[in-house]
Symmetry: C2
Amino acid sequence: MKIAIFGGDGFVGWPTTLHLSDQGHEVHVLDNLSRRWIDAELGVQSLTPMDSIQERCRIWHDVTGRRIQFHLLDLAKEYERVKAWLGDVKPDVVIHFAEQRAAPYSMKTDRHKVYTVDNNIGATHNLLAALVETDIDAHVIHLGTMGVYGYSSVGAAIPEGYLDVKVQTLDGSMADQAILYPTKPGSVYHMTKSLDQILFQFYAQNDRLRITDLHQGIVWGTHTEQTRRHEQLINRFDYDGDYGTVLNRFLIQAAIGYPLTVHGTGGQTRAFIHIQDSVRCIELAMADAPKAGDRVRIFNQMTETHRVRDLAAMISRLTGAEVLNLPNPRKEAPENDLIVRNAQFLALGLNPTTLADGLLEEVVEVAKKYSYRIDRSRMPAVSAWTRDLADKVEHDPEAKKLRAV
Amino acid sequence: MKIAIFGGDGFVGWPTTLHLSDQGHEVHVLDNLSRRWIDAELGVQSLTPMDSIQERCRIWHDVTGRRIQFHLLDLAKEYERVKAWLGDVKPDVVIHFAEQRAAPYSMKTDRHKVYTVDNNIGATHNLLAALVETDIDAHVIHLGTMGVYGYSSVGAAIPEGYLDVKVQTLDGSMADQAILYPTKPGSVYHMTKSLDQILFQFYAQNDRLRITDLHQGIVWGTHTEQTRRHEQLINRFDYDGDYGTVLNRFLIQAAIGYPLTVHGTGGQTRAFIHIQDSVRCIELAMADAPKAGDRVRIFNQMTETHRVRDLAAMISRLTGAEVLNLPNPRKEAPENDLIVRNAQFLALGLNPTTLADGLLEEVVEVAKKYSYRIDRSRMPAVSAWTRDLADKVEHDPEAKKLRAV
Ligand SMILES: NC(=O)c1ccc[n+]([C@@H]2O[C@H](COP(=O)([O-])OP(=O)(O)OC[C@H]3O[C@@H](n4cnc5c(N)ncnc54)[C@H](O)[C@@H]3O)[C@@H](O)[C@H]2O)c1
Ligand SMILES: NC(=O)c1ccc[n+]([C@@H]2O[C@H](COP(=O)([O-])OP(=O)(O)OC[C@H]3O[C@@H](n4cnc5c(N)ncnc54)[C@H](O)[C@@H]3O)[C@@H](O)[C@H]2O)c1
């Protein structure tokens, strides 16, 4: 198949690109390299030394004889070029990773809020409008997040996309209706994913676009089968306060003797998935495309849930690292339960890699190997959800001590 | 009070501006005049001769001694200027009309889809981000639409914003939860209003912004008490296939001996409100501001519902005009019922002006008076929701005959 991967230079995009190329598909990466620019803006870098996308594609060709084509393209800002490219290449599948994906970055300043909304909504809507215009019947696979639902609801188990409700009809009787499970996003980033969901609903309904939306948990780990094949095929690994996600940050903190920084009580329960499973899920979703006229297919793409303080305790046991509670820069429920249904991927054959499978040690190894590259000053989470929370973080004595290190 | 009216040069914005200025408020109009540019793009013009906004403000001053200040500003594209202006002036109330508001225009071509999303989401999000950043505790009043809910649901009475649902909690018991009434927008324009709703929910929750969202029905009529005071204060009046709304179009068609063009069977039921009531509702909403931390206050701003074919029949009886059924360029349910709750405005003292109140004749008078300005070739609705529908409209013999006139 001919596959277009928007955002294929990113953390999930790159291993997905390799995985699908490895299976013999014709793979195109379309990326504006904005994440590399954001690294520069924040003065951070991937823990793992990451070559240019062009160089990585060249090495993949050396190693496997397969070609990945790279196109520098801004999905949000270059509508006409996107349309022309799609019209020329006519992909069978379009995988859409091309969004600003860090909640803390999206809350950093007003400029970052505006950028995140413009970029993410522009990217998604341009893609949908261009597919309609070029009349290409590609299967669109988008990466959403579990976070759209917020974590402070009454705590119902999170279904896969839709909720059956009873509503009163005009004649007074009750009727069943399936609605999009209501969203209550907790950051500007999560909000953009909640908007995306409505864009998908509309284009599936009006234009019969075939769309799968993967509501993904927090991705951990770094290697996949393909990225392991050559030192320079290595995946990016973020650990800074904006882009580093909780489990990967704990593992790095443990590896360099930094305390495991838990926000608030650590009572937040979150959903997780290993990068290898994330890539596999995309393959499974591809194989099970909706038909024209179907409603948007929504999968929960996660394999297990954990409470943050339990994760910290587990990694502390494993590595001897100390746990440190800091004020939470996020506005969120301090404690929540979370049960997520993921029956669809299990039914399609996903065989989850869990934290228990020994890969935690592998990540600690990676972190140790490259620890000479770590900039400890980039570790603290400084982007706060409101002014009050920013003040709390700034004046907290423990946080101050840590920043002074 | 100090009131900022974004989009104050438009059809609802202008009479609102006059109404609030008349009450002694300090009123500022902020508008990028994009609607005047769109008139030029489409080669259409308001039926009523509409002076420049600067001239209209000058005349208002002559007539009443009151000043309205006009600022040329693009809310979607000039974030920094919006922020600076808000920070300087510190309005108590911000009324937000500044969006591309025609469903047919939003479906015209891919360019129009992209413009509508960029403009409307950019405008709303910029406003919210700038209010947070400047720390201004203004009451935001936004104009949404009844159309966000779609018209093809099971037909429950449309509540004011929220729906109480029962969800199963983790311990198996059922709990009540209030959710935003699920939206199912039927055009790109309506979709943007559905996105707005989620932006509001987020900023009310995260930043305690005080927001009222008015889900308005289709506005009809043209004069208000203030626009009547001087020939050159007259309000705009759209009748073309993109911006003209159904009731106003029927009235104009009747006045010039053009058939009343009904799309499909005319079985669509829609909600309506007279322009005078629309303006009055905004005043009522202003007087009843939410407190910081409240959820978004949502009102249904409409006074009556009618089936399109019944409206056509009524106007035909009144004027003798012929009714003509044409293929529907919109993708929508051919027939729907609609019951809308509007208890909140009635409780605040709204005394509805209905179609029965004789104002229909007034609109016919206006249409007759300016009928020499009507360009009949702009009457047909040509923007279609999909390629198939465009073909149907193009090849329909009746529609062809009409276009040939
Ligand atoms: N990493 C996670 O834990 C996680 C969890 C849930 C969902 N997701 C989602 O998965 C997707 C990929 O995440 P990731 O971790 O790989 O992020 P990433 O930041 O590593 O990759 C995103 C890629 O998209 C590109 N991009 C952004 N805007 C673009 C634009 N306008 N035009 C072209 N390219 C653009 C960036 O340059 C980058 O290469 C995102 O949509 C994210 O929201 C990720
Ligand atoms: N007219 C109706 O029947 C109706 C029904 C329901 C809801 N509404 C809503 O009420 C609001 C006003 O509608 P209207 O009929 O007066 O529309 P309109 O097109 O007459 O007025 C909109 C005004 O906003 C301005 N504008 C648009 N984008 C802008 C931007 N980025 N920056 C600054 N100004 C901008 C335009 O120049 C115009 O003057 C809209 O939000 C519309 O969706 C209208």
